[in-house]
Amino acid sequence: MSDSCAAPDQDLALPASVDLEKETVLSGTVVNDEGELVQGAYVRLLDGTGEFTAEVVTGEGGQFRFFAAPGKWTLRALSRYGDATGEIEAARGVNETKLAVSR
């Protein structure tokens, strides 16, 4: 549990307290045209109706992670290298996605 609404460090390993039998984790990496991991990309999670749900900033490993629920989600990345959008059908457990940003 966090005492703030800010996003935790996105490079950290999944906390041991997170129960993957219960949680639906949407995670992945942001890469640029060169295939390099992008640090400092803003990744937002939009729900099935396109409504904003959450946003995190990628760390050194270009990683992002959300805790959501099973169903259809959209991931949207903004960065200085450009933008990317990804659709995902999430199930319980860890759901991995790669977002390739470009202008």
Binding site: M1, S2, C5, A7, D19, T53, A54, F66, F67
Partner: protein, 283 residues
Amino acid sequence: MAREDVLVTADWAEANLDTPGVVFVEVDEDTSAYDSGHIKGAVKIDWKDDLQDPVRRDFVNQEQFSQLLSERGIANDDTVVLYGGNNNWFAAYAYWYFKLYGHESVKLLDGGRKKWELDARDVVTEVPKREATEYVAKPLDWGLRAKRDEVEAAIGVKNLIDVRSPDEYAGRLLAPAHLPQEQSQRAGHIPTALSVPWSKAANEDGTFKSEDELRELYVGEAGLDESKSTIAYCRIGERSSHTWFALRELLGYTDVKNYDGSWTEYGSLVGVPIALGDEPGTK
């Protein structure tokens, strides 16, 4: 109040980095963001270590706020420009403090750290040296802060604006989706509260929408009654500071309060009414 009285653009900020009497302040929870690079000359305020009381569940009092600004080298007559991550949530939260404690001239950098980074504007790691001041905060302005009893009494009487995500409002999630969901308090929302997620007030790059768009959002779409007072809340009072800013500072509604106890307090109270689902519910 005009937009330029409370917001500065990134272009304005870049042109005024060295202007005497203008102090840039980065406000974050994760201060490693500041340490890895910040706007030149900006001092940092840590949301947790600097703005919360270390013992009681409350924020810093008048004396603590005076001491903090004195240490940071901020004077009563400085123009303070706040910015931060998370679409300026923490900067808006700090802005609310500056207003609570009566600072005359304070503005938000529109778009905050995000817009600055997406524009690929320069950041530095050098920490500025500012001479300490003798800042004197005014007594807390209770016209801007709502407490729990006032919130319960406002059900069906004042505008209540719940700015969390639709799933948190309906009770399907207990916390924002970037946080693990294990929490003990009840889910749902305060009966009669209108759901207007904070994010609807902002563009994708973190800047605030125009006043016309904001008025349409709150009055046209959500049904805010302009003749009534308003209380905004979220989970812990940061995201609702962002909406409080939009309603009071940009749209100019005079009686708007932020309920910083928000859902972590309300959803843990014994015996208060709670509504579940996507509708506001009744008193």
